[in-house]
Structure formats: C-alpha cells, structure tokens
Symmetry: C2
Subunit: 429 residues, 2 copies
Amino acid sequence: MNVQNQVKEARQAAYRMAVARVETRNAVIRGMASLLAERQADILAANATDASRATEAGLGQSVYKRLVLSERKLGVMIDSLESVARLPDPLGAEEVRRELDAGLVLSRVRVPIGVVGVIFESRPDALVQIASLGIKSGNAVILKGGSEALESNRVLHALFVEAVAAVDDSLSGALQLVETREDISAVLELDDDIDLMIPRGSNELVRYIQQHTRIPVLGHADGICHVYIHPDAEPAMATAVVRDSKMQYPAVCNAVETLLVHADAIEMLHAIVEALSGVELRGCARTREVVPMAEATDEDWTTEYNDLVLSIRVVDSPEEAIAHINRYGSRHTDAIVTASSDAAARFMREVDSSSVLWNASTRFADGFRYGLGAEVGISTGKVHARGPVGLEGLTTTQYRVTGNGHIVDDYAEGRKQFTHRTLKEQSGS
Amino acid sequence: MNVQNQVKEARQAAYRMAVARVETRNAVIRGMASLLAERQADILAANATDASRATEAGLGQSVYKRLVLSERKLGVMIDSLESVARLPDPLGAEEVRRELDAGLVLSRVRVPIGVVGVIFESRPDALVQIASLGIKSGNAVILKGGSEALESNRVLHALFVEAVAAVDDSLSGALQLVETREDISAVLELDDDIDLMIPRGSNELVRYIQQHTRIPVLGHADGICHVYIHPDAEPAMATAVVRDSKMQYPAVCNAVETLLVHADAIEMLHAIVEALSGVELRGCARTREVVPMAEATDEDWTTEYNDLVLSIRVVDSPEEAIAHINRYGSRHTDAIVTASSDAAARFMREVDSSSVLWNASTRFADGFRYGLGAEVGISTGKVHARGPVGLEGLTTTQYRVTGNGHIVDDYAEGRKQFTHRTLKEQSGS
C-alpha cells in the first residue's frame, strides 16, 4: 500500500479511535502486552537479524546497545504497556463549562488530536511506547523507526495491529508503519491529513522535518542546558548536582553543557572539577585562573556536546547568568544551586526555558521522572506542549455548545444579553 | 530602525514583560484607554487621512466601513480596553503540583509565550484589541495592520508606546509596529526570536504565512461551516438557526456555507428557503426536486462563499452528514438541529471541528460570545489552541522543580524511589 493510502486509512481509523471507549483502548494496550509475551521468540529472532546487520555495517557500540533486545528488555516493555493501560483516561474531561445565557451552555472537552506522525530512533522500545501512548490518547499514529531496527519494527507493528484488530477490527488502520526516507518525504506533504509530526532523534533530523513540512512539528532541536552556582550554594550540593547533570548520562538532551559560576563561588570550582574526573573541561579566562584547562570559545556556549565535555564560565551576578542562559541556551532545562529562595524564584521566573530546577539535577527533566507515565518527546517550542510531553500533549480541545434554538441576532439587536456565568473552570483557563 | 532590531527590542522587552506584575500590566491598559480619550482629535484626524485615501483608491464600501472611526467607535474601543484590564490574570496559575519524592516538588505554571507577531486586517480597533491582549498576557507583540489603516495605526501605536513608557520605560519595546510587505518577509525569517505568528484576514494571507515561515502559525485558512437538520428537528427552530447562521453576518468565517437536510426532514426546506429571502441557493438533485434552484457542484461543498450564498444537500442519515462535514468542511464550526440528545451527542463527538453546536446558530463561535473577554483569532489547527483564542492562547507553561540537592543517579541505581504523589492537578492535565 502506498503512503497516501496508509495515511487515508489512518485518518478513517482516527475518527473511530476518537469515539472508542477507554475500556476499548486499554484492552488494545493489554492485548499488545500479551502478544509481546506470547511471541517473544519471533521478536527476538527479528531483532537478531537487525543486530547482525548492524554488526556487519560496523555501527557504533551505543547504537548497537539501544537496538538489541533481550528477554529482560521485553519484560520492561510489557511492564510499560501495563502502566500505560493503568494511566487515567486523557480524553473526555470537561475543562470549562459556562452558561452563555439561559439555556445556552458552552463546554470545552479534551479530544484526541487525530493523526500523529512520529519519527523515532533505532530503539524498538520507542515503537512500543509511542504506539501505546497514541492508542491510549485515541489517536492514529504513523510510525517511522530507525532503519537499523527495520525487522524488529515490522514484527512489533504486525503484533500491535493484530492486538487492535482482536479488540475492534474497524480500528486496525490506527497504527501505520512506514519504512523509507521516500515515505517520510511523502508523509511531510500530507498536511491536510496529518495533524502533528513528532520527530525524535538528532538535531539534524528535527531541523530537517521543521524545514520540510507545513504540518505542525513538536520537538526540540537542541538541549543546551546550564547549571548556575550562586555564592551561597552549599558546596557539596553544588558538586553533586553538577556531577549528576553532566555524568549520569551525558548523551542525552537534558545533560548540562555549560556551568556558570558566580565570581564569589569560584573557590567551589576545585571540588567540582575533582568530581568531574574524565570530563573534558573548557573554561573562560577567569575559570582558567583558578583551574588550568582548555580555553572556551564563543562556539562552546552554543554547542550541545552530548558527551563528557563541559564548558565553564564565571559570571558576576545572577542577572549575568540569566542573560547568558537566555542568549546562548536552547530553552530546554536549566538549574540553579542556591540557599536563597529569592535568588531561586528570580532565576526560575526569568530563565525562559521549558524546565527550571532549584537544587536538583537537570537530568530530572523527563516525562517518567515528572510522573507523566511516559513521554513521546520533550518540546522546546512554546506552543501546544512545552517540556516533557506525555498523554496530554497528544490531545486537543473541542468547544461544544448546547442551546434551544438560540440565534445571534437576538444578542446583536439587544433583545437578549449574555450572562457568561462560569459553571466550572480550571485555573488558568 | 530595521525590523531585525525591532524584533530584538521586542525580545528584550518580552523578558521584562514576563516578570511584570498584573497591576503593572493593567495600569498600561488603563493608560491606553485614557490616552484614547485624551487624544481623540489626533486619532480621528489620522483616520480621516486614511479614509480619504481609501475613497481616492476606490476601496469597497465594506472595507471603508471597517476602516472609518467615529467618536462612538472610539468609545467602544475604550470600553473594550477597560474590560481587558478587568479580566483575571492569565499568568502565574499553578496547574499541576506533584511531589516527585520527599523534598522534590514539581509544579507547572502559566507563563507568557514571549514574542508574538500578529498580522491583521484594516480595522484600527483590531490593533487596540491585539495590543491590549498581548500586554495583559505579558507578551511583546509585533503588529502589522492593513496598509489602508496606515496613519490610524501609527497614531494608535505611538499612543500605546507612550502608555507603556508612562508605567515602566523598560517595557516600551513591547509593542512594535511594522508597515510594509518587505518588513513581514523579514519578520517571517526570524524564527529564533518570534515564538508565534497569528495572521488574521483572508485565506490567501493565512496560507501565504503558513507557507513562508518556520515560526508556528495560529489561524484558520477556511471557514466552511455546516448546519445539519435531523428529522425530529422542530421546524421553526431549524428555520431560525439556519437563517441566523447564514444571514446574521454572512461575510465572516463562522457563517454557514452548506445546509445538510435529512431526507425525512426534506419538507422543512419550503419554510427554510422562504426565510432565506435574498440568499442565492445551490442544491443537490434531491433538493431541487423539492425546491427549484441552481445546481450545486462538488466545488460548492468546498467553497467558503462569505456571502449570501448557501449550498444545500440531502443526506440519508446522520452518519452521511457527519462524513460530509469531515470530508468537505474546514474543522471550524458545525451545528445540528435535533430534539434527540443521542443524535446530538453523537454529532458533537464525531464531527472533527473546533466548535460543534446543538440547536444554536454557528455564529455563536466567537471569543466574546464564548465569554473569553476578547479574541486574537479563531484557530482551526489542532495544536496549542483550538477555536476562538483569547488570553489563554497567548500563554504557555513552564515546569519548575524544587529539590534539596536531589540527583538522578540515586533513582537510576535504585537507592531512592519516586513517590509521584499528586498535590494539585487539573482534570485533563
């Protein structure tokens, strides 16, 4: 089937998904979990094919580690499906109810987005997470995984379509797998039928998608995160937060890339540097007066290393730290270490990033750790969803008005007046 | 000043707007209202220049009527500023608070988007509405009005900058006026410094903007709205709703363009057609058997007339009506007239539009009528904001985490467990 027809099938399935009961959606997800357990041998065999091709192609160790499945990893995937099935229903909640006039009532309810395209990296568990979040939120999903996981993705997709069809055959178009770059180019043209694209993976991928489609794109192009050390920071805490933010998993977007140290806290650098053993350091002139290291250039402030490299800059004030972050950062995740709640409050208000942390590692900025259950990605854009995106980011709203033959002319001509009486409203709505 | 520098000034002002107290923002809006009253003569003089140029240029009556100001229209503008000042603060509300672990607390708060670009039609009151909503929501706004209102917009913009500076000079870059097409082309390139574009006006304008920028765009390209008459509809109500939806103000996006009539309700067409005197009708074959009229072609189902024209189609079931709307409509606003709550509930769930109405005119789909206070536009996109967009659509969220030296490694290594205890949560979050 060509991509245009796959997307049309997804659109039709999306209409049916949107009205499927939560029991139906959860039954599909539990069915997916059962099939993962039943067909473990098939999945591992397909994955072994991918793995041996990866070895032949000489792929790096880190790609290989993410690609290869094991019984233990399958067990984690099954657990994650069960936990998505247990999450509360993201659909149907009435966020606003307002009497517009006697007998004329407005409500705003949560509904699915429709058809969502997700392009993801070579981790078979990414397909499992994305497909289950898509089903739970009542959407149809176009799935495009990394080519290294081709065989694994085929088997997983086929199982999941089987799980959907076992519950309700009319929903089985809701998960569509596309495989080639040409398919993605065709998908990016279909802005009438796809409501949202979520590219996960390299910055280059995200930028490419943003530049080649009129479909709204949710994602983050860079993760240039900062930790700022205020003079009153507890030195051991500053060291622990910097070390964790840099070293706990340096290859990911929420790892710190630049450390900003107040001039009056500069002596803390000795202990911090000692704790960062194995990390390549690049400092500004004032940093290098205290601890010898390579020189940081302007380019370092805008570089996402994704590696054991850290740039360090001395600043004279919190304002200078905030200005540095807003100028050079990527509006992703930034932390302050301080004993002062005033300094922290100001930092959190003025830093223009999706997550700001006080006395905690930048590595906490993640859907699972934030308690969203799982995430489809992290958004550094400011519209729709910002920061780690879970089920809520896969939903939108619909206004529903119930009247009794009400017409606007009565209000335009002054025969009737609106009452605009709030019956239910969320804060912030 | 060139556009690049104007946008940089807006970005700097946006950081300060984001932390301005609501009292400050409201004082600016009340200052705008006072200056409108004080400088009425200047405004009317500038508007008279625009008006005489419009007459020379032979602009149509409807553009002219929207363009020309009067003391009465200025009074309405002053009232609308006062009402925006009275709206609740859209910023700072804590939507979510969650304990991640002992001493580690996540909150999600409403913050401004940052720098918003709005392109609007030749109505000077649009500048007033957009500028005041932008200030109230803590954003900086790049304003581009219709060229016919050039002199009026210059005077209004200068007054509003004066009002901002009178309250806090450091905020005065928050309102930037750009005037030419070349300026807009330059603005559309600045995707690093502008967070959201809102084009209002013709479908061609909205499509042009969507196609020429990587900045997220909020708007609607079409307003192809429907009314569906179910067999059990009360005939007088059906007639009144159709008449109001078509005739109350046919030039706007929420006016109905296609009437769908169930075959068993076809006799109601006589009274409906009689009530639509002055409307050009185009019907399907079965419609024309009942009432003679011009023939509707497939093109009619996808045309936004914005005029006293209505296409009519007979359908055999509510499913057929819903399928017609989802296929040919523009996901804007659609209504059903029925006595059956089941039929209404199904219609409202299955029609994939930003507003759905039961026994009420499509013309109600509007920010003021929905009680949002005012609107910056109506969105038919499904991300960020959908339907009429008021202050909430000009805000986004920020995650804030407060810890006590918490590091991720403790959780990754199993020394600590997340508690994920909800302290406060909106439904749907």
